[in-house]
């Protein structure tokens, strides 16, 4: 990893950590916006989700699955790109 990437990752970590140290409720912004809409006079949803995760645990299961699948593919792509480059360099070395 380059020095640049290293420091940028430190930056990302700080962006996540600082609000946690500062404290707060950390509810979802989506939910807050939804609360405003629900407070509108005469509002009613006209279509309900066809399936909802039965509990917070199941919801976090699917969120983790989503992140894991994505990370798997990104990691695979990075590894493949690296091995391809190594093969090319070996070939150049031999000829």
């Amino acid at each position: 990893m380059s020095k640049r990437s290293f420091w940028m990752l430190i930056g990302v970590a700080l962006i996540v950590i600082i609000p946690l140290l500062k404290g707060g409720e950390f509810g979802g912004a989506d939910g807050e916006a939804a609360a405003i809409v629900e407070a509108t006079e005469g509002f009613a949803t006209w279509f309900d989700p066809i399936w909802e995760p039965p509990s917070g645990e199941i919801e976090s299961l699917f969120f983790s699955l989503q992140a894991a699948l994505g990370a798997l593919v990104v990691g695979y792509a990075i590894g493949r790109a690296r091995s391809r480059k190594e093969r090319e360099m070996n070939r150049e070395g031999q000829s």
């Binding site: 640049r4 990752l9 930056g11 509810g27 480059k85």
Partner: protein, 222 residues
């Protein structure tokens, strides 16, 4: 930023779906062409979709004391142009609508338009503009991804304000109200997304000159 199931009036839901459709179709055609003509780019294409998958699953705390998530659509928009992200972003939204009850089928069109069309187009525009005025590779990628992320949330704000104008202060009042929730919360997250996008492009392209990274990932030349 996902507008929840059934939260937009039917006319709005339909309108956004109709507006998103051509972008998704154009994206599908573009993806088919990329896969056929540049097999080396397939891997990057998969990684672009996967990056959006990861980032939109991560709910991150913000300085406002609430949580939101990045979008991850800037990477693909920078490498392949914005149209491919209309398809990849919609797949992410569909996954979340069906399995997480996050977003929804009736609001899929509206959410696709903000996250998979507006965000990527802004990212692409900023990327091109930054290159033109001579900003470095890392700064250009950072600005493109961060502003694309932010644009998605600003657009969601406008969509909600359009559907639910404030009874007293109207559209502008409602936009300020929704904006105060979304936009400010999103600023630090957009910065994080900008940084992460630079890191991932660098990791995917390996040790080469900065100027060659994007072309190499897009499968254009060596």
């Amino acid at each position: 930023m996902h507008i929840m199931e059934g939260f937009l009036p039917a006319s709005h839901a339909l309108g956004w779906t109709v507006l998103s459709a051509p972008f998704v179709v154009a994206g599908a055609v573009r993806i088919r062409n990329i896969v056929r003509e540049r097999p080396e780019a397939r891997l990057t294409l998969a990684a672009s979709g996967a990056f959006a998958f990861v980032l939109s699953a991560l709910k991150i705390p913000s300085v406002t004391g609430s949580c939101s998530h990045p979008t991850g659509t800037g990477l693909g928009a920078i490498v392949f142009g914005p149209s491919v992200m209309a398809v990849l972003g919609m797949i992410v939204l569909l996954f979340q609508a069906l399995l997480l009850a996050h977003g929804g089928l009736t609001t899929l069109g509206a959410n696709t338009f903000s996250m998979a069309v507006v965000g990527p187009w802004v990212a692409y525009g900023v990327w091109k503009l930054s290159g033109k005025i001579g900003l470095s590779f890392a700064v250009s990628v950072f600005l493109a991804a961060a502003l694309g992320d932010l644009a998605t949330y600003v657009f969601t704000t406008l969509q909600l304000a359009l559907a639910y104008p404030d009874p007293v202060s109207g559209f502008v009042g409602a936009a300020l109200k929704f904006g105060s929730i979304f936009a400010i919360t999103q600023v630090p997250l957009a910065i994080a997304e900008g940084l992460l996008t630079v890191v991932v492009i660098e990791a995917l392209s390996g040790k080469i000159r900065d100027e060659d990274r994007v072309a190499m990932l897009a499968g254009e030349g060596k």
